[in-house]
């Protein structure tokens, strides 16, 4: 059974059909990539799935449950987590705290305990912090743990977001251009990380313009253009699809990918 299922999803902004009638599904441990030209509606699709936008049409099923219209925090409770194309960092908090907040759902106790500083509250904090440190190590930011997040470079912040999203221990992880601002070597590191996470059974929905990465790690690719799904399938098949090449990849890129492939 698919973990995440999207059926006929759509939304309009003013007169613009930003996303229209998009359907696909995602199984446990699978990596599905959504690609498409700039403005195709990939981020908007993410925003609907993660509850940031209310879908105008269609349904979203998470593990069989209809979660259309639920707010992001309710989806988070059901195991859905994401990163952002336009960084959403808690600027004034430390790097460690940024990730610790990711454990929010696992550390909830009574607010009274928090106010009174009861041992329970402290223990929960410590557990979250320990988890957060682990994750920072995983994304290569262990050194920066005590720094203010606002002082990191762009690429570091991208990785910080991934760590924070992982802290939720999600079943479904949405990554919006995780490798943007990272060079080829750094991108490969992220590759490995994603593959590792998927291997642990987490389903991953990925938006990324780095075709090498997409081709390398995706099990399945969905292609959007002007809000509509124009193609779908195995990476190799999608890469050869003329519509995809024309709208998105361009002839050169295909050559380059072929060379490396």
């Amino acid at each position: 059974m698919s973990l995440l299922q999207v059926e006929g999803l759509g939304i309009d902004f003013g007169g613009l059909r930003a996303v229209n009638d998009v359907s696909f599904s995602l199984k446990a441990g699978e990596i599905v990539s959504v690609i498409g030209p700039n403005g195709a509606g990939k981020t908007t699709l993410f925003n609907m799935i993660s509850g940031v936008y209310l879908p105008g049409r269609g349904r979203i099923l998470l593990a069989g449950e209809d979660v259309t219209g639920l707010g992001p925090h309710l989806l988070a409770e059901r195991g859905l987590s994401r990163t952002f194309q336009n960084l959403q960092i808690f600027q004034t908090m430390t790097v460690l705290e940024n990730v610790t907040v990711g454990h929010h759902l696992h550390e909830r106790g009574s607010i009274l305990a928090d106010l009174l500083g009861l041992p329970g509250s402290r223990l929960r904090s410590q557990a979250s912090e320990a988890g957060a440190r682990e994750l920072l190590k995983r994304v290569g930011l262990a050194q920066a743990a005590e720094r203010t997040a606002g002082s990191l470079s762009y690429g570091a912040l991208k990785r910080l977001e991934i760590a924070r999203a992982l802290a939720l221990q999600p079943r479904v992880l949405l990554l919006d251009e995780p490798a943007a601002g990272c060079n080829a070597v750094e991108t490969e590191e992220i590759d490995h990380l994603i593959a590792e996470v998927a291997a642990e059974g987490v389903s991953i929905l990925l938006v990324e313009h780095d075709m090498k990465m997409v081709m390398r790690i995706s099990n399945h690719i969905v292609v959007l253009d002007h809000g509509e799904k124009i193609a779908e399938g195995e990476p190799a098949a999608v890469a050869r699809n003329p519509r995809v090449i024309e709208a998105y990849l361009g002839a050169q890129a295909v050559e380059a990918a072929d060379v490396d492939g």
């Binding site: 981020t43 952002f84 194309q85």
Partner: protein, 290 residues
């Protein structure tokens, strides 16, 4: 009917006063996201300086112009001496600076002038004009005309001129503004000068109606602020409509419901409007993509 007309005229009179103050907020806000809590003091200075120049024998029109110029200069000084040196400070810190400035200006005025109430003659006499069985003072028409003029001026400035757009750009993203060659310091100075001048003009126009003294600024600023937020901060249209709406609302409540709770009614309506329109009536919704 005559009754309704009278309430309406009263509302328009008061509303135009609020609108003028609210319009004064827009420029500095648009240039820096700072709500200048000293805006009321600019209004007060406009009135007070005119009063004292007039008492010193300067003809009223000249006294008014002098007041506007001096207040604009004070606005520039405020920017140069207090806002600019704090460059890079968080917006709240800048707001506290403007609160400090308003206390300072008030303190200065009470020493330089006095603590008495003052007024100067209305521009076109005190003979009421009858409209539909109700009356309005000629000075109210001056205030309304002033508010309309300032509104049109600001509207043209922000939509038709490159400088106006540079002002918006400065608040939206100061770094980017510098990158395209905008002298953001100059924009700030200009904004303070214009805001102060508009404030002072308001003071000149309203003093024959509301009277003035060193401490009228606080309540004017408060009402102007509320009006601006009701209409949508930063939008001249919002300031005008917000001001008039607030004025009419108060007058209607005072007339038909209870004069004691007219301010309360105004705030309740503001709350209700904001619940339905979190950006005020004309405020633009900021789109921040994630």
């Amino acid at each position: 009917m005559a009754e309704f007309m009278q309430f309406l005229l009263s509302g328009v009179t008061v509303g135009a006063v609020y609108a003028l103050v609210a319009l004064g907020f827009t420029i500095i806000y648009n240039a820096s996201d700072v709500v200048n809590f000293a805006q009321g003091e600019f209004v007060m200075l406009g009135g007070m300086i005119t009063v004292f120049s007039y008492q010193a024998g300067i003809p009223l029109p000249l006294a008014a112009i002098l007041a506007i110029l001096v207040t604009a200069a004070i606005g520039v000084a405020l920017n140069k001496l207090a806002i600019e040196p704090a460059r890079g400070a968080p917006v709240v810190s800048l707001i506290i600076i403007t609160i400090g400035a308003s206390i300072f200006i008030r303190g200065l005025t009470q020493i330089a002038f006095d603590k008495q109430l003052h007024r100067f003659p209305a521009f076109s006499g005190d003979t009421p004009i009858a409209i539909g069985g109700a009356t309005i003072l000629p000075q109210s028409l001056w205030v309304v005309a002033g508010a309309l003029m300032v509104f049109i001026g600001l509207w043209l400035f922000f939509t038709k001129t490159l400088t106006g757009r540079a002002v918006l750009a400065t608040a939206n993203n100061r770094i980017a503004a510098q990158l395209v060659g905008i002298n953001t310091r100059y924009i700030m100075t200009l904004s303070f000068a214009l805001s102060a001048a508009i404030g002072a003009l308001a003071g000149v126009l309203v003093t024959p109606i509301t009277l003035t003294s060193y401490d009228v600024g606080i309540s004017l600023a408060l009402k102007g602020f509320a009006a601006a937020m009701l209409g949508g901060m930063g939008n001249p249209k919002g300031a005008l409509v917000g001001g008039l709406l607030l004025g009419v609302l108060e007058a209607m409540t005072a007339g038909y419901i209870s004069s004691q709770y007219k301010d309360a009614a105004a705030f309740i309506v503001i709350l209700a409007v904001l619940f339905a329109m979190p950006q005020g009536i004309f405020g633009r919704k900021v789109t921040d993509r994630v």
